[in-house]
Assembly symmetry: C2
Homo-oligomer: 756 residues x 2
């Protein structure tokens, strides 16, 4: 076991590396050439323009003002200065609430740490068990933990009391935070401007009709069943293939520009490329000609495909975005069941247009349930048995194996130093690659499950990643051994033995987790602010692709909060903090530093860097809340196991009350707040409708919604064309629209027509 001095050394190293990252950041962010890497948000907002436009040449790239370097730490107070309402306005509610998770960590753990140091540390320190045992090695840290308290001691009542106090404090803060966030969300929804998704409902599983097209069927159904509220609808085209073509064309255009630039800079040598995979194999051709021809070919293909999608009735999938005359009408339709068969005419709130995951709109109900079953089974095996294929790959991936597959590398590998490096490096590489790929795998699994919005994909992936981290990082570290071995031993143990086995191991792992917090937490957050990958990528793009200001705009990669991976990681710190709060309170300061540091860094990032892909209005909060409750219950069960091995058996009935109360508290909060994140109350809808009717009596809503929900590949075209305004709006035809049957033809300008 590590002693306090070991921990201090580790802390110093990690603090230094974090500091190095921060200094590098402080230096790099002041260079005007990096401005678009460290302040892209302001460019996107249009507040900041390219700094190259004026001043001496040198100044455009390097900052020579010494005074600014002395104030390198100013970004921290600057990040904290923006008040929350302004922050919500600037970065959106999702981001503002996301950083509140870190703040929540501080709110929970600072008082707990103070109380823990005031009560538990003295109680543990004077326990004097470990001093009497001379055989065991023990460190000063263990003297501060519950291990130092003798078994069956009266002192354990202090831990029991603190377990109650900490649980109640955590629940109190969670309740308050849930209340604040739901108020923020409701206020955000109430105060935001008119948005297409407020009036629109996504209808899925439109049943096939032999006599009518999907468009007609949708129109008639809603005209009949929502006669006073139905406004219009937008059918959904299966444009997945078209989207792929557009993407491919864009990539080819990038390469074309790259070679063009290369040729212009060095006109003597015509650039060449190879036709094979990634330009590595195949025939050598003139690069510019090759890409020009390819782009032309793709443009043709794209036009044909676009034509096909528009004209083929089979390209229309049985889903539609149905818009209503008022928010009230949309709220009613989204929350009610339409047909007596609950697997057809499924309605839900339409996601924001940019939040829609178009590829998943067409999955039928039975397919959906089968997909969920399969993904659940795969997730189970992925979580518990992922080590088996990796161990298999590791056993394959030895030097002999590489020499067989890639014989030309043989002379290089056989060199002695290289060989030893590879032999030391290889076993870990399969696991490392798997861990890097894991979030992508989980997102893919969530996509297969059939969710229709990017935000729900993110939330579901986060749930999966949380399970993985819980099983493999937390329990995997406490009870050494691969997850499937744990699973096997858990199946063979009595349910009351499991908390005991895990609970006993908890105090011994404190030093390991302290190191983990410093490496993964502190250094990881410092690396986040440095943005090394986007920095390199931007300068590469800037050198080879950028010609116009628009290109430079496109080259910026502001990135965004990656909710699906970063939120489960935060949850790990909540779990560690709650588990160790009673057992080894000395761990808490490390967690507090993590939360404080991460809060400042992410606040800076969302102000200056990130550009969210969608805005879900903090819809993820119930998940955050639930996972902290899970952490709390785990900590209570483990403490129960630990205390029962400490011969404090009469504490078990007292401790079993805690998880019951915690779970009840969760159900209470769920009932009290969760619907604010799922449903849209009619009262609020009515207030907004009434207000809008009063302020904008002549609003042409149909024109406003006309092309809100068009697949993005159709929108590109639309940018070049005059906007089609539906001039039927003030027509006498509209009055009789309920009975009128109109053929759903495709508009000749390439924009799918919105049915009236």
């Amino acid at each position: 076991m590590a002693s306090v001095s070991d921990i201090s050394v580790s802390a110093a190293i990690n603090l230094l590396s974090a500091l190095a990252f921060l200094l590098a950041f402080a230096f790099l962010r002041l260079q005007p050439i990096n401005d678009r890497v460290y302040f892209p948000k302001w460019y996107l907002k249009g507040i900041r323009a390219s700094p190259r436009s004026s001043g001496p040449f040198m100044k455009k790239f390097v900052n020579l003002d010494i005074r600014m370097y002395l104030k390198f730490w100013t970004w921290m107070p600057a990040a904290l200065r923006m008040p929350q309402p302004e922050l919500i306005d600037h970065a959106g509610l999702d981001s503002a609430v996301y950083i509140r998770i870190y703040l929540l960590g501080l709110k929970i753990f600072v008082p707990i740490a103070i109380l823990g140091f005031a009560v538990l540390v003295p109680v543990n320190w004077t326990g004097k068990t470990l001093e009497h045992i001379h055989n065991l090695t023990f460190s000063n840290i263990d003297k501060l933990s519950i291990s130092n308290v003798p078994s069956g001691s009266e002192r354990l009542w202090a831990h029991l009391l603190m377990a109650y106090t900490f649980s109640f404090w955590t629940c109190y803060i969670l309740y308050k935070e849930f209340k604040i966030v739901s108020t923020l969300r409701l206020h955000f929804l109430a105060s935001e401007g008119r948005r297409p998704d407020q009036f629109t409902v996504l209808v899925r599983n439109v049943p096939p009709d032999p006599d009518e097209s999907v468009s007609e069927h949708v129109e008639h159904f809603f005209c009949v069943n929502h006669p006073d509220h139905y406004l219009s609808h937008q059918v959904v085209y299966n444009a997945n293939k078209l989207a792929k073509l557009v993407e491919k064309k864009k990539s080819y255009q990038n390469w074309h520009t790259y070679y063009q630039t290369k040729y212009e800079r060095n006109p003597k040598k015509k650039p060449t490329t190879k036709t094979g995979f990634w330009g590595l194999w195949g025939k050598t051709v003139d690069a510019i000609d090759y890409y020009t021809a390819e782009i032309e070919k793709l443009s043709e293909e794209e036009a044909t495909e676009r034509e096909r999608v528009m004209s083929d009735p089979k390209a229309i999938i049985p889903a539609a975005f149905v818009s209503f005359k008022s928010r009230w009408g949309a709220a009613v339709c989204a929350q009610t069941q339409q047909s007596s068969n609950p697997t057809i005419w499924l309605t839900e709130w339409a996601p924001e247009p940019r939040d829609v995951h178009w590829a998943n709109l067409a999955i039928p109900y039975v397919g959906l349930t089968i997909r969920r079953l399969l993904v659940a089974v795969v997730l189970f095996f992925l979580t518990f048995f992922f080590m088996i294929p990796i161990a298999f790959v590791q056993s394959m991936a030895n030097i002999e194996g590489i020499e067989k597959v890639l014989p030309f590398l043989k002379p290089l590998i056989e060199a002695k130093t290289v060989k030893s490096v590879i032999q030391g490096f290889l076993p870990g590489i399969a696991l490392k690659i798997f861990l890097i790929l894991l979030p992508t795998i989980l997102v893919t699994m969530s996509k297969i499950e059939g969710f229709t919005s990017l935000s729900s994909l993110d939330r579901r992936s986060a749930a999966k990643y949380h399970l993985f981290l819980l099983v493999n990082v937390f329990f995997g570290s406490i009870i050494t051994g691969a997850a499937f071995e744990q699973l096997q031993s858990f199946l063979k143990q009595a349910p009351t033995e499991i908390p005991k086995t895990a609970g006993v191991a908890i105090p011994m792992k404190a030093t390991f987790f302290i190191t983990y917090i410093m490496v993964d937490g502190w250094a990881g957050i410092a690396a986040e602010i440095l943005r090394l990958v986007p920095l390199v990528m931007f300068h590469l793009k800037n050198t080879f692709l950028v010609k116009t200001e628009q290109d430079r705009e496109d080259a910026m990669d502001p990135g965004s909060i990656n909710f699906s991976t970063s939120e489960p990681r935060i949850q790990l710190y909540f779990l560690l903090g709650l588990v160790y709060s009673v057992v080894t309170p000395i761990l808490l300061p490390f967690i507090i530093i993590f939360f404080a540091f991460a809060y400042v860094v992410f606040r800076h990032q969302i102000i200056n860097v990130y550009d969210q892909k969608y805005e879900s209005g903090a819809k993820f909060w119930p998940d955050v809340h639930r996972r902290i409750i899970v952490a709390l219950v785990i900590s209570q069960l483990l403490l129960m196991g630990l205390l029962s091995t400490k011969k404090a058996a009469n504490s078990t009935p007292l401790l079993i009350v805690l998880p019951v109360l915690t779970i009840w508290f969760h159900l209470f909060c769920k009932g009290r707040f969760e619907s604010a994140f799922v449903k849209f109350p009619l009262q609020d809808a009515m207030v907004k409708d009434t207000l809008e009717r009063a302020t904008e009596p002549n609003l042409n809503l149909k024109a406003y919604l006309h092309d809100a929900y068009i697949h993005p590949v159709f929108k590109c075209v639309q940018l070049d064309k005059p906007k089609a305004v539906d001039d039927e709006e003030n027509n006498p035809l509209v009055a009789t629209k309920r009975n009128s049957r109109r053929d759903s033809k495709t508009g000749s300008d390439g924009i799918p027509e919105t049915s009236v």
Copy 2:
């Protein structure tokens, strides 16, 4: 272990006692004097009149027609003759679907039994394990069970295959049945006539308002938020005390009539009573005078209380029945969230007026969640630890204890024969009393949980009773010992050990369960049709209380299907059948006889006897479905445990697939069908609305709904008064009603006013 001949004797005894009950029933039902006991349904329908009106005196009481006695079995085909649509019309959907549960048992188990006898019985019979072991006693029944197959035998594949076949067959039948029942329900809802609950929504947790009364607040809220659909509302009075007074008065009136009749028959002796508890203690007084005075006193009290409820604003509870102009409007309001605070303005479909449980309408949200927690904790202790207080009472209730409390009984008890009877009888009596009281206790617990309709109370009580039976009858019989001992041993066992422990015990308990089926099932059902208690009660009442035809009508006790106790009992048979289908198929014929016999008996009862207290439209079916799924999963897990002890370990992975698929199947069915039992689709509402508007364009809906949801104690008064028709209906005032504020005064005729 019992042999086949033991079972035969037991079967014969039970068959004979069942036959005796049936013969008694066949004899008694033909006596005209019992007509109102065995055919009350027809009297309530008004189809049958009292048979006493004509014919010779004797014939009025005793049936002398010999030919009819020879046809004593005709009630069976008669019971089966009525087709289902007519049955639904005659007895309601609840009853018609209830007997389909027995039919479902037949559909599941007849093919399983045939297959089991064709495949498993020969396989087991030729297994020849038990013949080789001469130490053990074994019976012929065990030769037919899986015990006769040697461990690790290839024959076990037959059992595995059958487990798959039986599970898939059960799921297939369950799916079909769920589909049929949901179609029946939708058809029933679509075809039934206009009912107040179709237009009405129950609103609970109306927030307090300092400026307005509850009535005004409700009116303004719904006028604003459902402007085109709101019609009227009915506030709810807290009339619980008044209802108690009315009941007490009715009981006193009964006693008054009883003494009056007694006096008239024997005018020489004036009847007397004692003023104390149940007329056992206290001063002796003239009975008729005493009750006349008491009734007068109660009438006065009742009038005062009625006055107070009407005039005191505090007697109005924060709940209301809100009616809408169309079914569409009500469906929208019932399915949507009204306010951003999801704990106020809670809306749900109003139950039928006779289904409302008035006492629970006023419970606030926080109270509700605390009540649920408490009831859940109590239920846990009741299920697992009920034996502890009973054992305590048993240890108290010995002869010495009785002699101490009731010393005057001493000489009687000390008599030798009496003493031995009491000593043998006493230990069981506490348990017996508890088991008789249990359903009442569970209903009370459900009432405390705060459900607002009698049907939901019944469903929740059934869920609790099912848990109790599962733990204490099924697992309690398999693993001998009290439930809390089982719980303790389960907590100390590995999760994989539990199915093994239980699974091994399964084949050994087959004979016990066969006896149980015959005693509880066969004889119990035969006792049901005899209706001994209502028979005695009717004749007692008829002798002492009945004076007019109306009194005789009131003296009838048709009873009803007691869903909360009888449905969990059926589930026990499903569980036994599914568990033993693979292990000991010889048990299946006994279950099939139970289902067939119960089907005929209950079909007869719902046609001729029962009068349901409410009609929920088969809303209980998802519960029935879920519990059969639970039974299926339990049977699969137990088989897995059993086979793993049979050294067929390689079958475990194959068997673990079954519960996963079964649970998935359940989720699939839930998504596919359950909403038909919870929500009312807008399309169906619109169809009914449109139809009604076309057929009855001049319907005065407000008058129709005027007093639909008045507390029953106010309705009694109303019967004597002319019906108040709201003549404001065709008034110009109505057009401006949204803005008009009217004070909610109490109508002078004692009927609470319906707000416009």
